[in-house]
Amino acid sequence: MSKIFKIFLCIGSFFFIFQACSKKPAGTKEKDASTFSTKEIQITPNVKMVSIKGGKYLPFYGDSSLVEVQDFLLDERPVTNAEFLDFVKKNPKWKRSNIKTLFADDTYLKNWQDDETLPKNADPEAPVTFVSWFAAKAFAKSAGKRLPTLDEWEYVAMADEESANARNKSEYSAHLINLYNEKLREKKKVQLSKPNYYGVYNMFDLVWEWTDDFNSIMTTADSRTGDFDDKGLFCASAATSAADVLNYASFMRYAFRSSLKANYTVENLGFRCAKDLQKNSK
């Protein structure tokens, strides 16, 4: 069976190469025209941004030195299907049929019915998924925002409903593991659950979320190598290790991030936007 498939693939790719060859001379200009421009058409998603008071925190992976997070603004919830639809309508190059694999792999907006139709039975108010880091970043930019940094995201993620830092509560991690382990959670509407200490919703119970520097985690893909100072693989890396080996929820988040590439699109991976507090836009 798989052989038949391969034959098709083979024939298909030959066909493709012929086409590619014949197109090449004429196609160069065409390509130039479709070259990416950094300017996104502006969108104005109607989402409240919560002001987060910065401070020092201990990253989950590190050399146990504290990291300072500046005051910033964070969307109170993830970006929704409806908002992303509006974005692609105004920015056609981010439509599914126009996307380049450099910026999103072949499952980009996979469940959408077509370029401008949300998935069947999808709630417009559910978080958008199957979006790449590039797409998330472009969305944020067009909204005059940016993606939160990993430190910003994790800083807010320390909070539970009552306190800014619930890490030491024994139920914190266990509770999250069960939220994470729930299937199809991404289909739910945003803001159905309770907000955390800051008034931020859905940090854990809907989707994994892109961060701007998701690829800054200096762990190897093999999570068991206790510290990550392999000079062959990583340059100048201080010996880093997990701050709290019992925090399984954090292990999961970091493991998830380290399995990603920027053009990946995944069924339960979405994003929310952030913004510097002082400046209006970057």
Partner: protein, 344 residues
């Protein structure tokens, strides 16, 4: 595509290749395993569900074998009326038994189901290389990783997921066995079975009904709620008991996934004629109970002389009778009074 071409080219020669290699097949010592050339048609190994295993490799030459595993996360039954969110390889606990020979070149495809929540990977103890493949296969939901390895050491090995947090991935059921047969294959037996012991740590007590959540504290404290064979209490009981006939030799590939406990594997009423302790190449004879470490395996072989039901246990016996580490082998056939009979 690559395989298509090579297999097409080589398919013509397969018959001859087999003939040629069969003669030097038995010469494949471990030290020379690197030098063993693969030949013949590429095999796409079909997954079979435990406790069955793929057919013996016999005396075939080393070849290229493609193995497909899919990491899944699905709710299933852990005991009567008790459900659990298992993480699996190929939707079974343990995952599909992989069967190859020394010198084989394996192309392992690890797909992570698109509706998975977690990233997964695979560490095969049969692999020589960093992480046993874990680093090469860390794969996000909906994606697929492919990696190649050459089997250098014969033996019975555990494989498991090693994505962070590793203990959780193992505790949820992500493990299985891979058998690397020596050149020439294992001795022929009448029956082969695949049993893997594993612990489960649930919030509720043993047999407490309903969907049970993972209990991290119990895991860290090494206090399992369940110790079971093949992912479920009673997986090898009743209609699912293993079968054999009087006079047959039974070989059981036994693995222990842990994540914490060491198993004292025993078949009540039988003596293992041979035990390949720790899954290695040497066998011990006439063994009652064999120890199988967490992350280890053993092959046990015995001839059954008397009909009846033989109970398979972890002889740390509370586990067997209270936590589920119990199974059965049903032997049918003629009674053998010389070997066993009740007088009064």
């Amino acid at each position: 595509m690559k395989h298509l071409v090579t297999s097409f080219a080589l398919a013509l020669l397969t018959l001859q290749a087999c003939k040629q290699n069969a003669s030097d097949g038995s010469a494949g010592k471990t030290e020379n395993a690197m030098e063993i050339k693969v030949s013949g048609e590429t095999e796409n190994q079909k997954a079979v569900n435990p406790p069955t295993v793929p057919a013996p490799i016999g005396d075939r030459a080393a070849k290229k074998v493609i193995v497909h595993l899919e990491a899944t996360e699905e709710e299933g039954e852990l005991a009567d009326g008790v459900t659990y969110k298992f993480w699996t390889f190929n939707s079974t606990v343990p995952g599909s038994f992989i069967r190859i020979r020394v010198g084989d070149e394996v192309e392992l495809h690890l797909k992570n189901a698109s509706n998975s929540v977690m990233p997964h990977n695979i560490d095969l103890h049969a692999v020589n290389g960093p992480g046993g493949g874990a680093e090469a296969t860390n794969v996000a939901p909906g994606k697929e990783a492919i990696f190649n390895f050459k089997a250098l050491n014969p033996g019975l090995f555990v494989y498991h997921c090693a994505a962070a947090p590793v203990p959780l991935h193992i505790a949820n059921g992500m493990y299985g066995l891979i058998l690397v047969e020596p050149a020439g294959g294992l001795a022929k037996v009448d029956r082969e079975y695949y049993i893997m012991q594993g612990e489960f740590y649930t919030k509720g007590k043993t047999d407490e009904k309903g969907l049970q959540e993972f209990d991290q504290d119990k895991g860290v404290d090494e206090r399992p709620t369940y110790v079971v064979f093949n992912g479920k209490k009673n997986a090898l009981m009743g209609a699912n008991a293993l079968q054999a006939k009087v006079g047959e030799t039974v070989r059981i590939f036994v693995g222990n996934a842990g994540p914490n406990l060491v198993s004292s594997f025993h078949v009540i009423g039988e003596i293992f004629d041979k035990v390949y302790a720790e899954g290695g190449s040497k066998f011990n004879e006439n063994v009652q109970t064999t120890v199988i470490p967490a992350g280890g395996a053993a092959m046990v072989e015995f001839k059954v002389e008397e009909p009846g039901e033989y109970v398979i246990v972890d002889h740390s016996i509370f586990r067997a009778f209270n936590k589920g580490a119990i199974g059965k082998l049903k032997v049918t056939g003629e009674k053998n009074p010389k070997v066993y009979h009740k007088v009064q």
